[in-house]
């Protein structure tokens, strides 16, 4: 009897875990480091994987750096080869825990919440503290998670050559938008 109970219990445990996760494979992350009067330096990644654990408010996003698309093809090439070095660092991660998270409180009105977490890019990790995000749930049970924060280029060990330093902001505005579905 015990032999049957254990796998059965495991199945139930894994089922209950699976129910607490909301995820997307096509989340959007954009960053912008534009300087007024110069060409726009902006890229969008629409293939970000993001998972939210509605049990404890933990979330994690995996951004494949090669998936960042620029308007300008040459800029995209330079970003991958010289700045992000995406052959060596193909992944960026963004994760955190939402403070005072309560799944029951999420409704169709976007509410703001704070979170503490980190951003890993170019092999370097930087803490993100007390950042705000918006969370809401649509009628068809989709959780919307969005927000923005600033990141310093210098924190990620990225060198900007002096020739282009005027055209590139040292502070990068990062925005994210995830439409999460129950797994």
């Amino acid at each position: 009897m015990k032999n049957i109970l254990l796998p059965l219990a495991l199945v139930f445990i894994s089922l209950s875990f699976a129910q607490d996760k909301y995820l997307t494979k096509t989340g959007t992350v954009t960053f912008e480091a534009s300087v007024p009067a110069f060409e726009e330096v902006k890229a969008k990644n629409e293939s970000t994987t993001a998972i939210l654990n509605t049990e404890n408010g933990e979330f994690a996003a995996l951004v494949l750096v090669k998936g960042f698309r620029f308007k300008n093809a040459l800029m995209e090439e330079h970003f991958n080869e010289n700045y992000a070095e995406s052959d060596d660092f193909p992944k960026a991660t963004f994760k955190g825990t939402i403070s005072n998270f309560s799944f029951e409180k999420i409704n169709n009105k976007p509410t703001s919440a704070t979170f503490n977490g980190s951003l890993t890019f170019h092999g370097k990790t930087k803490a993100i503290e007390n950042s705000t995000l918006n969370i809401s749930m649509s009628d068809d049970n989709e959780i919307q998670l969005s927000g923005d924060f600033m990141a310093d280029v210098s924190d990620f060990d990225i060198e900007i050559p002096s020739v282009v330093s005027k055209k590139l902001s040292k502070e990068v505005a990062v925005t994210y938008q995830f439409t999460l579905l129950k797994r």
Binding site: K25, T26, L64, K66, N72, A73, K91
Partner: protein, 125 residues
Amino acid sequence: MKKKLWILLVLFAILGVIGYNYVYQDHRNISTESASYTVTASELINQFQENATVSQEKYLNKTIQITGTVTAKSDNALTLDNAAFCSLSNATKFALNSTVTIKGRCIGYDDLLEEIKLDQCTLIN
């Protein structure tokens, strides 16, 4: 003298055109590129799970052609053999559980979901 001026002017114009075309070159067109590798989706995930670093070096940013069974789909994406998530360039209709071959650019291995991700995918057949 006037002739020299003309030559100089033409030279500048040519340089200008070359420079412009370099700075504002077109994006890669994955759908017209020929595939660097042709594999099945399950074979591809096996390679990534065996050795992620080597596979990454081999496939990252490459145009690859993969075959597999459609295990999940949405308007702009499909999953082959629960192993390769392919974002489509254009919304294309697929039947669930059908076997298809698609071509796209490998953007990496998603270790949260243990899937390979491709973008700019198009249907071959």
